[in-house]
């Protein structure tokens, strides 16, 4: 005796019932989607517009002021790029500022030692500056990559949460940096070839560090959107176990992502030395916060799976534009902190609204 079975109703003859909706809806949804993705950029433009109108003429929107804003933000942009990849894997790197500091110390020391004797450099002379700068830059970047690699290996091999591991490497990197410098200043500033010739010089109207940030931004965006590396980053963050089952070497990829973040920190260290001529641990205590807030404001989800490189860069600009604009407006320094903090909250709130609408 066969049991009676009811056939489920079919919605379309011959089809499986997963009917696609009409075309027009898709296109409208696409436009809305695009607009909502770039709302942060519009927000930034609104900010710029506001400050332009509210400030005395020729103060805010001058070429030199805008150039200064971009210069100050170039480091954070690099850090934010590295952090975007990490956060997209549902991880986090708190050590990024400390690694920047250590790389700056290591690279800076190499630059000084190779540019001349200590008597010479202390007196401001750098007879072999180019040798020193070249090797120092390499050391900066590699030192950053090494710390990133360490982060990745400890996280994957010892299976510890990223927040704890990078908290530890943060302390270690600051500590080692301070050890090398006996209290965190290089004995002499780095050669002017790097500072004057690179950090304070322009190429086609933009400071060199800004060019570096721009180029890295474009490359990182391309990698994220169009290469396997970017896709695996999102996959691992979205569903680590599922990615493993699909045959992706998840652990190896995670190590690569953290190493990349470290390399970004190392590159930012080069810019840091170029712009500020020296380095101190005090100045980098909250770099990780700046980078992570830029990423979060940009819309990357801290739960992983979805990242946006370009918007992280926009997110990096919002606090610096705000700060510059508020200083020009003569708003008291203490109020500025309040406003910057409030803006971050508003930005994230709007992003959440947008996200919820999208996932209806």
């Amino acid at each position: 005796m066969t049991a009676t079975v009811t056939e489920p109703p079919r919605t379309e003859p011959g089809a499986n019932g997963f009917a696609p909706p009409p075309e027009e809806q898709t296109r409208r949804q696409q436009v809305v989607y695009l607009l909502s993705r770039s709302w942060l950029f519009l927000f930034l433009l609104l900010l710029v517009l506001y400050f332009w109108l509210a400030s005395p003429p020729s103060t805010f929107l001058t070429g030199s002021n805008v150039a200064q804003i971009a210069l100050t933000t170039s480091e954070v942009v690099l850090l934010a790029i590295g952090e975007t990849f990490v956060i997209t894997t549902a991880g986090i790197d708190l050590s990024i500022g400390a690694v920047l500091f250590f790389s700056g110390v290591a690279g800076g020391e190499v630059m000084l030692k190779l540019s001349g004797t200590s008597a010479q450099t202390l007196a401001g002379q750098y007879p072999h500056a180019w040798r020193g700068i070249a090797l120092g830059v390499v050391v900066c970047i590699l030192a950053g990559g090494a710390w990133g690699l360490l982060n990745g290996l400890v996280i994957t091999r010892m299976k510890l949460p990223p927040i704890i591991v990078t908290l530890g490497t943060m302390a270690m990197a600051f500590g080692f940096g301070d050890l090398i410098d006996g209290g965190s200043y290089l004995p002499a500033p780095v050669p002017p070839g790097l500072t004057h010739g690179f950090g304070a010089s322009k190429f086609l109207g933009l400071y060199y560090p800004i060019w570096v940030a721009l180029v890295v931004l474009v490359v990182a965006h391309t990698v994220y959107q169009h290469t396997r590396f970017g896709r695996y980053t999102a996959a691992v963050g979205s569903n680590e176990e599922g990615s493993r089952r699909a045959g992706i070497s998840v652990d190896r990829h995670i190590v690569k992502v953290y190493a990349l973040c470290g390399l970004m920190a190392g590159t930012a260290a080069v810019l840091d030395l170029a712009i500020f001529t020296n380095t101190t641990s005090v100045a980098h205590q909250t770099d990780n916060l700046s980078a992570i807030s830029a990423v979060v404001i940009g819309g990357t989800s801290v739960f992983g799976g979805f990242g946006t490189i370009l918007l992280s860069a926009v997110g990096a600009f919002i606090p610096t534009v705000l700060q510059n604009g508020l200083v020009i407006q003569d708003v008291q320094p203490f109020w500025q902190e309040v406003v910057v903090g409030a803006t971050i909250v508003v930005a994230v709130y709007i992003d959440q609204l947008r996200r919820r609408r999208m996932n209806r």
Binding site: G183, H284, V331, V339
Partner: protein, 330 residues
């Protein structure tokens, strides 16, 4: 959806405007070409805007401005940290406003060279106060004679510990001109006292907690430690806290640089034995006057450096009027 977002954005913009309007402290007028104007605006960029030292300096600056009558001084600077990356954005903002002069306490000898160069190139004369940079871009510098201050601290500390024993020092960052000079003056003067053993200097990175930890470690490692010299306010706060919690208040003699309210309080309580007070009020006052002279064309005779004095403040003299004017009043 867009309407709701728009509403939030508009609300935010309105909030912005409200805050900016109420919190605004001045509006600068663009710089002229140096002839006497109806009014002048100077920007005072502090090393750190929350420090009693700079706040007192601002008081002196405001007093000078008031006396001159047609000068406005805008006080700015990062309230969070004493470091170039946090100070430079504020300097940039000041430069963008084209004030008639900028008074700045550079947070690093070399890192601030390029930004200050930009100010000078934009036609804005610069006075460095307190700290200095290694390139002669400012038309003058007004600061405490920190070497003398360090020496005075050494004398005061030796006196407090009774002439002999172990002493140590905690500074801020090697590379800050002021604290380096205090340290050098201190070490130099100690050489006069063969019975006093100098254990060395540590650096707090301008972090109160770090200073406290270093002090605790010093106390633990050197039971015979008799005296310590803390070279700025933040460091002093950390040192005082550590001494108190180790229960050694009064046993370990402390000399600290700077005389902010917590330091004066500790002095009166007996935790600190002597303060070397700078005269930030005087620095601010003098800097504004010098800037005014410069921008009104009276440039001859302005020296490259003006040293202001320091005073050793003890329990004995803290209430005397001569000493009182040195105390910092934020």
């Amino acid at each position: 959806m867009s309407r709701r977002v728009l509403a939030v954005l508009v609300a935010a913009a309105v909030a912005f405007g409200a805050v900016a309007a109420t919190a605004r402290t001045s509006s600068a007028t663009p710089v002229g070409s140096g002839q006497v104007k109806a009014s002048y605006t100077f920007y005072l960029v502090a090393g750190i805007a929350s420090d009693a030292f700079y706040l007192t300096m601002n008081k002196g600056a405001q007093a000078a401005a008031k006396k001159l009558g047609n000068v406005k001084v805008v006080f700015t600077g990062s309230p969070a940290q004493f470091s170039p990356p946090t100070q430079i954005p504020y300097l940039n903002g000041a430069i963008a406003r084209h004030p008639d002069a900028i008074l700045i306490a550079p947070t690093d000898k070399t890192a601030l060279i390029a930004p200050i160069q930009r100010a000078v190139s934009a036609g804005i004369p610069v006075v460095t106060v307190d700290t200095f940079i290694t390139k002669p871009l400012a038309f003058t510098n007004v600061s405490t004679d920190n070497l003398a201050g360090g020496r005075a601290a050494a004398d005061a500390l030796v006196k407090a510990i009774g002439g002999s024993g172990e002493v140590a020092a905690i500074s801020v960052n090697p590379g800050i001109s002021t604290t380096d000079q205090r340290r050098d003056g201190f070490i130099q003067e100690l050489k006069k006292y063969p019975a006093v053993k100098y254990l060395g200097v540590q650096y707090s990175n301008d972090d109160q907690t770090k200073a406290s930890n270093e002090m605790s470690a010093l106390i633990a490692g050197h039971p015979n430690l008799k005296g310590v010299f803390a070279m700025n306010v933040v460091t002093g706060n950390g040192v005082t806290a550590a001494v108190k919690s180790a229960g050694k208040a009064g046993q370990i003699k402390l000399v600290e640089f700077d005389a902010g309210p917590p330091q004066v309080q500790a002095l009166k309580e007996g935790t600190i034995d002597a303060l070397v007070a700078q005269y930030p009020y005087g620095i601010g006052y003098q800097a504004v006057n010098l800037a005014y002279n410069y921008v009104t064309g009276h440039r001859t005779g302005i020296a490259k450096h003006y040293g202001t004095g320091s005073a050793v403040v003890t329990r004995a003299n803290v209430n005397t009027p001569g000493i009182k004017k040195y105390l910092y009043t934020p």
